[in-house]
Symmetry: C2
Subunit: 336 residues, 2 copies
């Protein structure tokens, strides 16, 4: 059973996931992994993944058979286990609980040769809607307080299989990065009585130097103090605290701006490895209280262009050689 353990100094939770140590990987960094041409996410190999949780099958075919456009399956090497009680308890002076959580894989297309940004908009919309639907479903489980949706694209970005996919992890604790945002947004609200994210969006749409692209419902901007070159955040323009609440039109618009951003990054930086991660409101969380007036969901997209060294790891003080104004201008001027 994996464990969740809390650092006693900074209250950061860590997953100690011994099961994942058994994955087909070693401790040596390496390039693109070899898979002998076999891919468990390809059409026809449905029996090589755990049984699917949901799928889009316009063909009407049976579950776990070919004929799908998108599949959601449990991760075969989950960081957390979905069955069991949390059993929060002490361990000497420390705190831990069972490593309970859901770890799912969203296989974005059966086509091994495609990347997310190659897909037609309707298919990217399906991916965004799948995030919504899984989140709404997992939220019903009272053990969970947060669903983290993320994508690792490329081996350097941590993808262990090249076939395009996203992942989600439902967690019984809120990740520290989101907690810090909530605390910052609470401080700002106490002072200004406004959502800090709405203020940022308003500032960026006015100044426009860090604007990458926009459409009627969304904006993509290089943040003022980015950790990484070409880091870009996508915000809904309207004040929306929870990703999982919205009609399909919202996710169509999101698919549109995400697709455009990825195309711009690919053209500007020659198909870089990247990560993105969705930050949204926690649920069932007794600590944060009602934050719907001050939290604003967003996606952080991080191309992996530079190595992160000891300084950054240990300090949180990042050195970024590319001013966001230059990165945004470069991305804006890409010819699509």
């Amino acid at each position: 059973m994996p464990e969740l353990r809390k650092d006693p100094i900074i209250d950061r939770w860590v997953i100690i996931s011994t099961e994942r140590g058994k994955r087909p990987m070693t401790f040596e960094e390496k390039g693109e992994e070899k898979h002998d041409g076999f891919c468990p996410f390809d059409s026809g190999n449905e029996d090589k993944t755990p049984r699917e949780i949901t799928a889009i099958r316009e063909s009407g075919a049976a579950p776990n058979t070919p004929g799908w456009q998108l599949r959601v399956v449990p991760n075969k090497f989950p960081a957390l286990m979905v069955e069991g009680e949390l059993n929060r308890r002490g361990d000497g002076m420390y705190d831990k609980m069972n490593g309970i959580g859901a770890h799912e894989v969203i296989i974005e297309t059966p086509d091994h040769s495609m990347t997310l940004s190659d897909l037609p908009l309707s298919r990217i919309t399906d991916v965004m809607v799948a995030y919504r639907d899984r989140m709404a479903d997992l939220k019903k489980d009272r053990r969970f307080r947060f669903v983290m949706v993320f994508k690792n694209h490329g081996s350097i970005a941590g993808a262990s299989l090249p076939h395009t996919h996203s992942q989600l992890i439902a967690l019984p604790e809120v990740p520290i990065a989101v907690l810090e945002e909530i605390e910052g947004a609470q401080r700002f609200y106490a002072y200004k009585e406004r959502c800090i994210f709405c203020d940022i969006i308003s500032e960026e749409l006015s100044v426009r130097t860090r604007l990458v692209c926009e459409n009627p419902k969304f904006v993509a901007v290089a943040p003022y103090a980015p950790r990484f070159p070409f880091e870009t955040w996508i915000f809904p323009k309207a004040h929306l605290p929870r990703y999982e609440e919205g009609p399909r039109e919202v996710y169509e618009s999101l698919a549109h701006i995400l697709s455009e951003l990825l195309l711009r990054l690919n053209k500007a930086l020659r198909n870089p490895p990247y990560n993105y991660i969705l930050h949204t409101s926690p649920f069932n969380d007794p600590h944060s209280g009602d934050i719907s007036h001050l939290y604003h969901w967003h996606i952080e997209v991080m191309p992996r262009l530079t190595k992160v060294a000891g300084f950054e790891w240990g300090s949180g003080f990042y050195i970024n050689p590319t001013p966001p104004e230059e990165a945004a201008q470069f991305l804006r001027e890409v010819e699509l």
Copy 2:
């Protein structure tokens, strides 16, 4: 001029360092860099670095000539500039200041073929004392609030030159990772009236399952909730808030435990790339107040064995496949 910019949500400062973009590097991750056999840190190439700040020369030779055992020089491609005023100012809704700071390189030996752990204890002690002396000197500059000492060993860990060296950066703001520790230590002190680090040391010396090695003055332990496999923290057993205050005996003892830890890591993990970073009390910081009763300096050593993926980057929620008890036992059982 580089800039320091503050993320408005979580108050994280970032260095926007355009000068470093001019370094001989590109945005492509790559293996060990090629240097055509030339190394600016080798004996005889003293004129290829900026003029030295200090050095150990038992030979009595002149500065910037051969005959040294350790040299401290300004970084040729500094992330921050040492000359100028901070000029704290607003930028729309945001906050920034000039990128003022010192960025120095500690060249640990003239011998290109050695690593830090290959050096005799007296030379490692010299390195630890050099950290102390540079820190004590930079502390006199009222513009600075923190000196971050760190080491990147190996290309994967971010070292851009293979010749063994450490770095330090003097900063006008306290890194967020240290601020979070201080805030956590303050919460603990408010509740218990004890230093949380002293409590951790006491717990680990009692339980011993996460103990890696110890000597009369220092202890090396796998933390209870480590982010990375084989992450190990070195603490002075006595309550010492400030690294830069101590007699040579303290650094001899530190050199001894650091050397032993690195030898154990090298044997256990076949010379892994690693980072270490020194966390110590800020100075001249108007926010933290007197923290000498609750903060405790320490060194965090992080072997770089696993890739860090989007989930960790964007959430601060790390997945670690190796329980610290197993890592510590493995390191304890290495035959030196």
